[in-house]
């Protein structure tokens, strides 16, 4: 990462981060560009499919590393100091990430993707002083994993159509309903839940947000096995779960504004660089070795498809560079970031199918040959990339309406009371 003097003390920050990382971590031996074909673990993972004991060990390692970061001032670089943050800019955060990527450190995604990346900023924006003091330092110190209780079987793209009920119950609320596609719920201590508090109001206007203690009676987390075979996500059943009123985020019936804060941070975090095992597998160096190993390096048709894919991958990377440059110049990321997310999903999908074509029939069954059947794992994960974090269709609506200013479809459901709407899985009135 560049460390040009820009008046923000960046040089000093970089030196400090470098010293911290040198002391607590080891630098990676290889750069990610080097490919050792046929060596090492034959896995191309996107979703983890670890056995429970391995997963538990990884979660423990993630929490431990986050604690080390936090104790040394790198746990929450952009956070306010009164809640354990460092009070620096997002640019400092990016610079730190760039430096840390050079080191071999535990993957902290279980903490950061949902909890620190989305729920933390939401609590900061909408939580009471008490909630902020109670949860934020614990979250960024790696002690508390948070999950997002948003999607429901009947409310996917149309999140505001959610039906989980919250009704007054003495000094608090009683929650009933079902959430789905909840990442890391089985590790989470708290969850941010959106609930219907007034079904007589239009759908966006009768929702309230709560922080739910995931160990409370009535919270039942069940693994949801996805098409790729693993169970990275969960269903969460809420049955008469009591939530104290001081765990409400934002006003009663004002939960949609809270949800928007969370979703804004989601879009900011999805669609970044194609790092990780899957990103490396579909990058040019690895695919080139795939062609070489299969005697296809001179195959004009294969070369053409590889070049088309590489051109789009490189251009997407350039798009991210440009976004970063704009960001440095003080511009906030806009809805244009959806382009990056769409491209990321498409490129990974194309890469998996390209590899499948090269591997050919050896993808049908596990022949034991290195670098063949292992592509199934990525191939089976890619359909999710066009769905999670906002479907491709919703992303396109956002681009068309918010960037291009095209008119919305005539809405038939934003004015009527929620209880009068037609909904999936419910008999028509």
């Amino acid at each position: 990462m560049p460390s040009e003097p820009d008046g923000s003390g960046m040089d000093q920050f970089v030196a400090e981060a470098r010293a911290f990382l040198d002391e607590h971590a080891t630098r990676r031996a290889h750069t990610s560009d080097e490919v050792a074909w046929g060596e090492g673990e034959d896995r191309i993972t996107y979703f983890s499919t670890d056995p429970p004991e391995v997963e538990a060990a990884k979660v423990a390692a993630a929490k431990a590393w986050q604690k080390v970061r936090y104790d040394n001032g790198f746990g929450w670089i952009t956070g306010p100091p009164e809640f354990g943050g460092r009070g620096l800019s997002t640019l400092h955060d990016l610079v730190y990430d760039g430096l840390e990527a050079e080191y071999d450190v535990p993957d902290t995604g279980v903490l950061s993707l949902i909890g620190l990346g989305m729920i933390g900023p939401t609590i900061l924006a909408h939580g009471t002083e008490g909630l902020k003091r109670h949860y934020l330092p614990a979250m960024y110190a790696g002690d508390v994993i948070a999950c997002q209780l948003f999607s429901e079987p009947g409310a996917g793209s149309d999140l505001a159509g959610l039906a989980t009920r919250a009704v007054r119950d003495g000094d608090g609320w009683l929650l009933n309903g079902q959430k789905v596609w909840t990442s890391v719920a089985h590790h989470a201590a708290i969850g941010l839940a959106l609930c219907r508090t007034d079904p007589d109001k239009p759908k966006h206007k009768g929702i309230t947000a709560f922080l739910v203690d995931m160990s409370a009676p009535g919270v039942d987390v069940r693994p949801l096995r996805q098409m790729s075979g693993g169970a990275e996500f969960n269903e969460v059943f809420l049955t008469d779960v009591h939530v104290p009123d001081d765990h409400r985020l934002g006003p009663v019936d004002g939960g949609w504004g809270v949800a928007l804060t969370t979703l804004m941070n989601e879009r900011a975090s999805v669609g970044g660089e194609g790092a990780g095992a899957a990103g490396r597998a579909v990058a040019l160096p690895f695919l080139t070795e795939l062609l070489r190993a299969n005697g296809r390096l001179d195959d004009a048709a294969a070369r053409r498809r590889l070049a088309e894919l590489y051109a789009d991958q490189a251009a997407t990377e350039y798009l991210n560079h440009q976004a970063l440059r704009r960001f440095r110049a003080g511009e906030q990321p806009g809805p244009e970031a959806s382009v990056s997310k769409i491209m990321y999903g498409q490129n990974l999908t194309r890469g998996a199918h390209f590899a499948a074509e090269i591997v050919g029939p050896r993808l049908i069954a596990d022949t034991g040959e290195w670098g063949t059947f292992s592509w199934t794992e990525l191939l089976l994960a890619t359909p999710a990339l066009r769905i999670l974090g906002g479907t491709e269709e919703i992303m396109k609506n956002i681009l068309a309406e918010r960037v291009l200013g095209l008119p919305k479809e005539p809405s038939i459901d934003t004015k009527s009371p929620f209880r009068e709407l037609r909904r999936s899985g419910r008999a028509e009135a």
């Binding site: 051109a311 251009a315 350039y318 798009l319 382009v339 269709e393 068309a400 291009l404 005539p410």
Partner: protein, 389 residues
């Protein structure tokens, strides 16, 4: 360097760099100028004119805006800026499909002269190019049309040694070759592919303006029959000159393609907002809306590719390898412009298929510019080679 071609003043080390604010200012100035001088009616009038572009507008571009001088070395009448600044200008010209000798003169010919390192040629030609009084072009008549000259592949042969030579043969597709004052030619010379300069008034020089797919960029065939020519740079050194030209030209073309694609996107979006069918603007239907979103995504990615390539070709620190970035931009922007130009017609429906509607002018430019330096088969293979595959 031999004595015949004295080393040029090294302009690269003193490249001027515009700030973001200055780039915006430049873009606005060019856009405003073109809005008043090159609206659709003016472009169509230029297309129908004999030379294919408006000479008065070209003179103003040079005299009032000083655009031909922008990216030329300061030692030869230029302002010393780079491809980043040049791309801003070309992008605006691409937006309105300005017919002009700018691309052939400034991007192709001037880049070749600078890349040749020939101080004599630079002194002879660049001040006139900077002032807009000399128009020029470059042709690389390799049989594959891929702008990768190798011995024995060129349609023009040079005989003679030293600074003077005689050319024989034919260049089938010369951009703005029908009007250029000076034509730079890569010919098979005694030492391999060599760059020569031919004056359009020379004996044995005959040109024929051709019917073109792209109505807004003229192309001519030039026949050389014992035409006198002057050596530019070193004998046998044209391949490396053309390699540099290709990086700069495909990067500038990428900016032009992004400009054209953005115009198509804006046209389609505006129409989708105003065209009513079934009692609603057609842009409220997701089938149309998503098409526009796809166009936007393509334009954004192409814009990033063109911008990054310009920075890379200028050697801006932290940018990727220029050969790779230029090849990425050429591929991505060619594909994007073609796709967006086609979808623009689709969003417009029947009206978009009429002669009167400008959509076909962009469609024509998109396809012609995609093929100008060899086309997809060539640019994808070049990209892989540049990336070391």
């Amino acid at each position: 360097m031999s004595t015949s071609t004295a080393a040029m003043a090294d302009a690269d080390t003193t490249r001027a760099e515009a700030s973001d604010a200055e780039l915006t200012e430049l873009r606005t100035a060019v856009r405003d100028f073109l809005a008043s001088k090159a609206d659709e009616a003016a472009v169509r009038a230029a297309v129908d004119s004999e030379r294919g572009y408006d000479d008065k507008v070209w003179a103003q571009i040079a005299a009032e805006l000083g655009l031909p001088a922008l990216a030329l070395p300061t030692a030869y009448g230029g302002d010393g800026y780079g491809v980043v600044e040049l791309s801003v200008v070309i992008g605006e010209m691409g937006r309105v499909l300005l017919p002009s000798p700018f691309f052939s003169t400034v991007v192709l010919a001037a880049t070749a002269i600078v890349a040749s390192g020939d101080a004599g040629a630079a002194e002879r030609l660049l001040p006139g190019i900077a002032a807009g009084t000399t128009t020029a072009t470059l042709t690389v008549p390799d049989r594959a049309g891929s702008w990768e000259p190798a011995a024995g592949t060129l349609g023009i042969h040079a005989t003679g040694s030293g600074a003077e030579a005689v050319l024989e043969g034919s260049a089938p597709l010369v951009v703005e070759g029908g009007t250029a004052h000076v034509v730079l030619v890569v010919a098979d010379g005694p030492g391999g592919p060599t760059l020569y300069e031919v004056d359009a008034t020379a004996t044995g020089f005959a040109r024929t303006t051709l019917r073109t797919l792209d109505l807004t960029r003229r192309v001519a065939r030039i026949d050389f029959s014992a035409a006198p020519a002057r050596l530019v740079g070193e004998p046998g050194a044209a391949a490396s000159v053309v390699a540099r030209v290709l990086d700069v030209a495909t990067t500038a073309l990428a900016a032009e393609q992004v400009g054209g694609a953005r115009a198509c996107l804006q046209m389609a979006t505006a129409y989708a907002k105003e065209r009513m069918q079934f009692g609603r603007p057609i842009g409220s239907f997701q089938a149309v809306k998503h098409k526009c979103a796809d166009m936007l995504a393509r334009v954004q990615v192409a814009d990033a590719a063109a911008t990054e390539a310009a920075r890379a070709v200028d050697g801006v620190p932290g940018s990727p390898d220029p050969g790779v970035a230029a090849a990425v931009a050429h591929a991505v922007c060619s594909e994007a412009f073609m796709a967006v130009a086609a979808e623009n017609i689709q969003v417009h429906g029947g009206i978009g298929f009429t002669w009167e509607h400008p959509a076909h002018l962009y469609y024509r430019r998109a396809k012609a510019s995609q093929l100008l330096f060899g086309g997809p088969a060539v640019y994808y293979e070049r990209l892989l080679r540049r990336a070391g595959v």
